[in-house]
Amino acid sequence: MRAFKHLIYGGLLAAAISPAMADDGEKIYKQGGSQPGALACVTCHMPDGKGMDAGGFPKIAGDSAVYLSKQIHDFKKGLRENAIMLPIASALTEEEIKAVTQYMSSLDKVQVPEITRAKTPEGLGEQLAIRGDWSRSIPECVACHGPGGVGVGDTFPPLAGQGAKYLAAQLHAWQQGTRKNDQNDLMGHIARSLTEEEIIAVADYFAGLGK
């Protein structure tokens, strides 16, 4: 079934973008863009797109191209403040953003085990993930990020298999106001309600899911 789906998606992708563009995307990813400053993505996001958490470089493999493209624009607009990605994002042309995010999206995503809300949570991280804390208006993370944190559509990014350091950094960024790119503050108010202990626990939990 999964293989079948890949086939369909593959077919769709092939139809949607010309082969030349797919090659462009791969080239930008591996060698950088046309303008100075558009560094090769592969250096930090790695050849398989799984990133390198020690450096705070996120996994981008298999994420929605729409989501990734939005992030690059948000870096440019300052809605996500980041000293490393700002110059890189600013040096990419619209065409290049389109091509490189399509390529990132085509890389193999992590496999996530199926965890439903029926499970009894073990530990603080899983408790937040599949129960939330409604006394503070914190819904279950999976209510928006999907079962096991696989991600949903073009708006809700996968959390499963993402680096723990990176996940925690994003939650901190919302707390500090250096990331404010979510529609209607849907994510921001949640991040601001989390304690330090909870951030570490939930980041570790999702980082440990999916390989």
Partner: protein
């Protein structure tokens, strides 16, 4: 020819009626809960971690599993894409989201409408029939025992026979000048479409919905309590957008509820002789504010979708 068709239709209508009796015809709205004093706390249901490790604990967990993962746990009873938790948030625990602890202690209850004593099992059967557009579990089935045990456990320590603050969805008065479907459409686009999708049909991962459909064939049917604009406005005002309940104004909640409930959904299973007008008169005319059988922008609402 026409006569023949009609009588065949009547026959099938009768036979389905026999095949699936309506467990609890009366889905009219609940009485409002008393409001909570500043100093008062909502009922606090027991913690999952404190569940006893015996057959009772096992049955509570089973009820919990059915409640939060209905479509997968009892697929034969669910006709649409919903789970109980979609409308009773935080696993049926959340105040002002019609929590199970607020419901359990109010049954058995006499209802004038059907002039009989209705049991808790019948209330749950009603939600299966209408909200889940499905088949109600038998009163003595394990599914019913599990859901009832789960509710009983949540209600531990709650007073019985009195409406407690936080039960049901708190009433939101209809705005002066009524509701505005066109404005509801704008609110939907700004506040709801990101999750429930622009077409209202929800979003899935694999086979299952993460963001449940608000209308269309996989949503609640025309007999469900949520089809009333006033009930939907109450639910929405208190609970939506997810995690940001209480942020819409009363008027916004009504407008978006009216927009939502002006779309087609599965037919009311109580359909009278295949006739929308007869069904409207019998079941919808005196049931809160709703659009069933009304004509909006030249289109008859309540035709149902399969």
């Amino acid at each position: 020819m026409k006569k023949l068709l009609v009588s065949i239709f009547a026959l099938t209508a009768i036979s389905t009626a026999i095949a699936a009796p309506i467990a609890m015809e009366d889905q009219s709205q609940l009485k409002p809960a008393p409001s909570k004093a500043e100093s008062e706390q909502y009922h606090l249901p027991p913690l999952e971690a404190d569940l006893p490790d015996n057959a009772f604990g096992v049955m509570v967990r089973k009820g919990h599993a059915i409640f939060v993962d209905t479509k997968r746990q009892v697929p034969e009873l669910v006709g649409n894409g919903l789970n109980c938790v979609n409308c009773h948030l935080d696993q049926g625990r959340l105040a002002n989201s019609a929590p199970m602890w607020g419901a359990y202690t109010m049954y058995p209850a006499y209802r004038k409408k059907n002039d009989k004593v209705n049991t808790y099992a019948e209330r749950i059967q009603g939600c299966f029939q209408f909200s889940m557009d499905g088949t109600p579990p038998a009163a003595d089935s394990e599914t019913m025992t599990a859901l009832t045990t789960f509710s009983y456990w949540l209600a531990t320590g709650a007073p019985s026979g009195v409406k407690t603050p936080g039960s049901g969805y708190p009433d939101v008065a209809q705005p002066e000048g009524g509701y505005d479907i066109a404005n509801g459409k704008n609110i939907y686009a700004e506040q709801c479409a990101v999750c429930h999708s622009a077409d209202g049909l929800g979003q899935k991962v694999g086979e299952n919905y993460v963001f449940p459909p608000l209308w269309g064939k996989s949503s609640f049917n025309w007999g469900a309590g949520m089809h009333r604009i006033n009930t939907a406005a109450s639910f929405i005002k208190a609970n939506m957008p997810l995690g940001k309940g209480g942020t819409l104004s009363d008027k916004e909640a009504w407008d978006v509820a009216a927009f939502m409930n002006s779309h087609e959904r599965p037919q009311d299973p109580r359909l009278v002789e295949g006739d929308i007008e007869k069904t409207r008169v019998k079941f919808h005319a005196n049931d809160g504010v709703n659009l069933y059988g009304e004509t909006v922008n030249g289109v008859l609402i309540g035709q149902g979708v399969k």
